[in-house]
């Protein structure tokens, strides 16, 4: 699939951010680039908007009000609709945050502050990636092996690609792990 010939069009974007200025800026900026933007200010609004008007892309903040973080929002979105790309936008720059984002199925991670043009590129890249993944044939998914390390004891694990997003217990330390949705 040549991405230059058939770009994936991102039409509707759901921005999940409790910071009004940030959300307003993103809305304006993305609208300038011909995207339709919905804003959700917390996890509850995010899930409502996500299920009522399924977006082509989610831009998700981590620190949200009411003690529900973006990680949990992402995990739930990916459980219901794995083919909607989720891009995390956060000021958190910890390795554990990148790692957890991957495990809950986020398709990309952009740290704040970001360059808006870079964000635009990242949005298109991520949409392309997720589209291709969603259209990969099932056989190649099954044949693929996912390798990852236990976050607790560091044991190296290898499971079938068909288990992506599933939960398992580390056979060594019993730690509950989620098979990364993508590498």
């Amino acid at each position: 699939m040549n991405s230059a010939l058939s770009p994936v069009i991102v039409n509707r974007v759901l921005v999940v951010d409790d910071d009004r200025d940030e959300a307003a800026f993103l809305k304006e900026f993305l609208q300038q680039h011909k995207m339709q933007v919905d804003i959700a200010r917390d996890a509850g609004q995010a899930h409502s908007a996500f299920s009522m008007h399924p977006p082509d892309m989610v831009l998700l903040d981590i620190m949200l009000p009411n003690n529900v973080s973006g990680f949990e929002v992402c995990e739930r979105m990916k459980t219901t609709e794995p083919n909607v790309p989720v891009l995390i936008l956060s000021a958190i720059e910890l390795d554990d945050a990148f790692d957890l984002a991957k495990r809950v199925g986020a398709d990309g991670y952009v740290t704040k502050p970001y360059d808006p043009d870079m964000l635009l590129v990242k949005i298109r890249e991520t949409a392309e990636l997720v589209w291709q993944r969603g259209h990969a044939d099932e056989e190649s998914v099954k044949a693929e092996k996912v390798r990852f390390d236990c976050s607790e004891c560091g044991k190296r694990l290898k499971v079938s690609g068909a288990h992506r997003g599933h939960r398992l217990n580390c056979p060594q330390c019993g730690n509950s792990l989620v098979v990364p949705r993508h590498d």
């Binding site: 981590i62 620190m63 003690n67 529900v68 973080s69 973006g70 990680f71 949990e72 995990e75 000021a91 958190i92 720059e93 910890l94 554990d96 945050a97 957890l100 495990r103 809950v104 607790e152 560091g154 044991k155 190296r156 694990l157 290898k158 499971v159 079938s160 288990h163 599933h166 939960r167 398992l168 217990n169 580390c170 056979p171 060594q172 330390c173 019993g174 730690n175 509950s176 989620v178 098979v179």
Partner: protein, 199 residues
């Protein structure tokens, strides 16, 4: 320290340390050694480990627990090099004196754990289930060879001198993970982020 060596399946040669306490073998999820085989009862038998010895007790299993080929009816104190058979599994019992003495009856209590103390019960359970459940569609794939690289002590021969390692919890309470949910892990990440911002 008392231990069992696995005698059957692809994990043959591995050692399972017996911590003081009770270690139940069975099909039940609560069993310390879970064996997913129809030949094994839910609660099949129990190893009762004290500082002076190990007693094996049959828990009324349907297919019996065998020591040296003889079914045990109630309970039996294990001797060094006894062979225990539970359904499809075979174990050999090792006591600290089995390497240098012929008798395991007069063992002295030792507080040192043998060097394979880093193995958890979950480990054990998965090895054993693997042995008997060929081609199951479970989530986990075990990489035993990799593991040997990581932990060279995993399959030490019997009778290795105990090294002073911090004792781990008894068999009934395997080490638990730090985070049970994404929410807990997320909260920790956010807290650490805010702390780093504050400082």
């Amino acid at each position: 320290m008392f231990a069992l060596t696995i005698e059957t399946g692809k994990h043959k040669g591995r050692r399972l340390r017996l911590s003081p306490g009770e270690l139940v073998v069975g099909r039940d999820e609560k069993a310390g050694i879970r064996v997913a085989s129809s030949e094994v009862s839910r609660a099949h038998c129990v190893f009762i480990t004290t500082e002076t010895g190990v007693v094996l007790k049959d828990l009324g299993s349907r297919n019996g627990t065998f020591v040296n080929g003889i079914a045990i009816t109630d309970e039996r104190t294990l001797q060094a090099n006894d062979v225990i058979v539970v359904g499809p599994l075979g174990f050999r019992f090792q006591s600290p004196t089995s390497a240098d003495k012929k008798s395991g009856t007069s063992t002295t209590p030792k507080r040192n754990d043998s060097s394979d103390s880093s193995l958890s019960d979950n480990d054990i359970a998965s090895w054993l289930s693997d042995d008997v459940e060929e081609g199951r569609s479970g989530d986990t794939t075990i990489i035993p060879n990799k593991k040997k690289d990581d932990e060279t002590t995993a399959s030490l021969p019997a009778g290795d001198p105990p090294s002073p390692v911090t004792p781990i919890a008894p068999a009934a309470t395997p080490p638990r993970k730090e985070f049970k949910t994404v929410a807990a892990e997320a909260a920790d990440i956010i807290r650490r982020h805010l702390e780093s911002q504050g400082s």
